[in-house]
């Protein structure tokens, strides 16, 4: 079924040999119908232009849809047929096309079965509020079940799509998140989930396209690595033949090696594994990381400009091409549309401290921003500049990892930056130290065992350009763009400290 719902596509004449008596009867009727249909076709072809007509242009209609629900009212049976994000009302009525047995059969089809339907598309006088296609309905002439679903479903899709507030008000059920995640295959069928993951696919696509247009090369980095790059506490260990190895916490090390290998600008899309025992609304143990690294010519702001421009292109692409999906998600999870500025707003850490200070938060010069402070800062920036996306530049050196390049003009600060969406951090990036000597000094200062990072330091010994970059989490970006509240809604089969299946 197409979105427009009118111009039927190819005829899908899947002639399944029906086992029941009804099937035989229907075959008898076929001959009659075929004759009548031929007449009708001729008439319709002549009357296509007229908009007063009840019948639409095409009369044949081949669909492979799922039965969402049905309701039998005496001589009629209403079904809701669904395909991905859209659903349409269908009607089986006793008449010259359908017999009483056919109506009974339609009423007994279990929900979520896959059916093949031939029907006439008709305009309706009253809008059908409960479906996405509100101005037409299908008058079924033939219906076949292709794959039958079990009668008892672990969760009802109408409940899964119902907004939380509405559920409480009317006393109807909503499905809680754990049930949804346990029966992910059914939950993903909801119109909301379909919309979310189509949007996520769009984000990935726009990311790739924008960067490729800017001259970036896509790389794939290994995920089984020999040594934990940043603090050793947060990596998963895997047994590797006679020894053990780790799952990569981030592709950072290999991105930088690619820059030293003269690839100039690279990006990679791949899984990231973090063994953090954080049970929050925004942490997963496995997520998709979109990482960027590039060498620059004069100033590390070139890197910031590149990254923010990519983000802005992604936002614009979503705003212009995925409005349907955004509206679908908003029906179940209402939220404010996402606002941004072009070029992206860049504030300095000192300005952020001043804004927080004005709002009554006391913070030291070299303190890191706590999560509540980040959220407050997000609200203050939204008040003043009306943007949900901004960059905070020049973080204090003391709170950044050892490979961050210090600010040449002020040793207290560093050439590092964070990016925020709706007050939550989505990217942590910096200019990297590209000098092996300086890197060793910084590592010693942070009391890191030099033996463990020997390979890393060695990669800078044979000529390395100044470079910087950052990485974002696909799920978190989608969650924040749509204004959702839990990252598990944007991860197809989420992994967290308590969930390993499906």
């Amino acid at each position: 079924m197409t979105k427009e719902g009118v111009q039927g596509a190819t005829e899908e004449e899947e002639q399944q040999q029906a086992q029941s008596k009804k099937g035989l009867k229907k075959q008898q009727k076929e001959a009659e119908k075929a004759a009548k249909k031929a007449e009708k076709q001729a008439k319709l072809a002549a009357e296509q232009q007229s908009t007063e007509e009840d019948d639409f242009a095409k009369d044949r209609y081949g669909v492979a849809a799922m039965v969402q629900s049905q309701q039998k009212l005496g001589k009629q049976c209403f079904l809701v047929l669904r395909q991905q994000q859209f659903n349409v009302q269908a009607l089986v009525a006793v008449g010259d096309r359908a017999s009483k047995q056919m109506v009974k059969f339609a009423a007994n089809i279990t929900k979520e079965s896959i059916v093949d339907v031939e029907a006439m598309v008709r305009k309706v006088e009253q809008k059908i509020e409960s479906c996405s296609q509100q101005d037409v309905e299908l008058h079924i002439e033939r219906i076949f079940v292709i794959s039958q679903s079990e009668a008892r479903l672990p969760l009802q899709l109408e409940d899964a799509v119902r907004p939380d507030g509405e559920g409480e008000e009317e006393g109807r059920a909503t499905v809680n998140q754990d049930t949804k995640l346990d029966n992910r295959v059914i939950d993903l069928r909801t119109t909301t989930s379909q919309a979310i993951f189509r949007l996520q696919s769009g984000v990935c696509q726009l990311f790739r396209d924008t960067l490729t247009n800017k001259g970036f090369v896509e790389i794939q980095t290994p995920k089984i690595i020999s040594a934990a790059s940043e603090g050793g506490a947060n990596v998963f260990t895997v047994s590797y033949f006679k020894t053990s190895a780790y799952l990569a916490q981030s592709p950072q090390l290999y991105k930088q090696m690619c820059i030293c290998a003269d690839f100039d600008k690279v990006f990679c899309v791949g899984p990231v594994f973090r063994a953090e025992d954080s049970n929050t609304h925004r942490h997963l143990t496995e997520f998709v990381g979109l990482d960027i690294e590039m060498a620059f010519n004069y100033h590390y702001h070139e890197v910031i400009d590149s990254i923010t421009d990519t983000m802005v292109q992604i936002f614009k692409g979503l705003r212009d091409n995925f409005q349907t999906e955004i509206q679908t998600v908003n029906k179940q999870f209402p939220s404010e549309p996402f606002k941004f500025l072009e070029p992206t707003l860049r504030l300095e850490y000192t300005e952020a401290l001043a804004m927080l200070h004005e709002a009554g938060v006391e913070m030291g010069d070299e303190d890191d921003l706590s999560t509540p402070n980040e959220k407050l800062l997000g609200r203050l920036v939204k008040e003043k500049y009306d943007t949900d996306f901004y960059v905070l530049d020049k973080y204090p050196l003391a709170v950044r990892p050892f490979y961050t390049m210090p600010d040449p003009n002020n040793p207290k600060y560093s050439n590092s930056y964070d990016m925020f969406m709706r007050g939550e951090e989505i990217l942590s990036g910096a200019q990297r130290v590209h000098d092996a000597q300086l890197l060793t000094e910084r590592a010693i200062h942070h009391q890191i065992d030099l033996e463990k990072i020997k390979a890393y330091i060695d990669s800078f010994r044979y000529g390395a350009p100044p470079h910087g970059g950052g990485g974002i989490g696909l799920e978190r970006v989608c969650m924040l763009y749509l204004g959702l509240h839990n990252v598990r809604q944007t991860s197809m089969f989420p992994r967290d400290p308590k969930r390993l299946t499906p």
């Binding site: 705003r319 300095e348 300005e351 401290l353 004005e358 008040e383 003043k384 009306d386």
Partner: protein, 322 residues
């Protein structure tokens, strides 16, 4: 010109017992019949040569200023109208000194904007690209002459795109723009789909300011305080309001009434608020230009328009309208 006199802390004629083993220097400040010794006496009775030199320099500068003032007054007398018939290149050299004395009085940023918290003080202006605020662009260029201003232009996501001249209306990007903390003031212009022009500065302490007239008043206060005479202040304010309400948004009849009023006011004085260029002139000029009635204006108004343009501050506004 006597400098601020401080009474000597110790007696001016104190007898000091100079040690004989030191190298004796003759007294540099040998009195040549000058009676200002007591003022420059230091603690040990000797006079600081630097002070004397400073005084001499100051005298020199004051003398030059007096000469300049005399020259300007002379020119003003020969030319009955303010710079109207002078060529821009000639008057620009005069306008340098004219603009520096245009806005008398100094404003302290801290008193107007609040305590300096050690970070860039950013003024955010949300404007609709359909109605670019010309007077604010003029005030922006005046601010740039006075302070170190970091100017940025953004396009909000509520607007699909703006013509390129709106993106470059604040001038080229400053070379130091990567270091925001090096600037005294930030001027951030956001092209957004807003019904009315809006300015935000300090979210906690100030409510947003709406309307081009009010924002212009705010920005002007950063340049110079309003004249202390309340009658003059009221007149300036009334001209600003006339400009934005009747000239810019009024019907043709209202506009011609305003032009007539301008004509009669300008017949009496070179500028709208008397002898000095003020916010009233900026506001009225921009609105006259935007309403397109510049060419059809009466004689005094035309002359005044020429004088405004000769001052050189209005070039960004003119460029935007082209």
């Amino acid at each position: 010109m006597p400098m601020y006199q401080v009474k000597p802390i110790c007696g001016a004629h104190a007898e000091t017992d100079l040690p004989t083993c030191m190298y004796k220097l003759p007294n540099i400040h040998a009195q040549k019949g000058n009676s200002c010794t007591p003022e420059h006496a230091l603690q040990n009775g000797e006079v600081d040569p630097a002070v004397k030199a400073l005084e001499a320099r100051q005298d020199e500068i004051m003398r030059k200023l007096h000469e300049l003032k005399a020259a300007v007054e002379g020119l003003a007398k020969t030319v009955t109208t303010p710079d109207a018939d002078l060529d821009l290149t000639v008057s620009s050299s005069l306008s340098e000194s004219a603009s520096s004395t245009t806005f008398k009085g100094v404003t302290d940023l801290d008193t107007v904007l609040g305590k300096d918290l050690g970070a860039l003080r950013d003024i955010v202006i949300n404007a609709n690209p359909a109605q670019p605020p010309l007077s604010l662009l003029v005030l922006h260029s005046l601010l740039c002459q006075r302070y170190r201003v970091l100017s940025t232009v953004h396009v909000h996501s509520s607007v699909n795109g703006v013509p390129p001249q709106l993106l470059s209306c604040l001038g080229p990007r400053h070379a130091d723009s990567y270091a925001r903390h090096m600037f005294q003031l930030g001027f951030t212009l956001i092209w957004k789909d807003v019904p009315k022009l809006q300015m935000k500065f300090s979210v906690q302490n100030m409510c947003p300011i709406e309307g081009e007239a009010n924002v212009a008043r705010f920005l002007f206060k950063l340049l110079a305080p309003y004249p202390s005479d309340p009658a003059l202040t009221t007149m300036v304010d009334s001209w600003v309001d006339t400009a934005f309400f009747q000239l810019a948004e009024g019907s043709t009849k209202e506009r011609s009434t305003v032009l007539r009023a301008l004509n009669s006011a300008l017949g009496r004085n070179p500028w709208l608020a008397g002898q000095e260029f003020s916010l009233a002139d900026i506001a009225c000029y921009c609105c006259v230009l935007q309403s397109g009635s510049a060419s059809a204006a009466p004689a005094n108004v035309q002359r005044w328009i020429k004088s405004c343009e000769n001052l050189g501050h209005f070039s960004p506004a003119k460029q935007l309208l082209q």
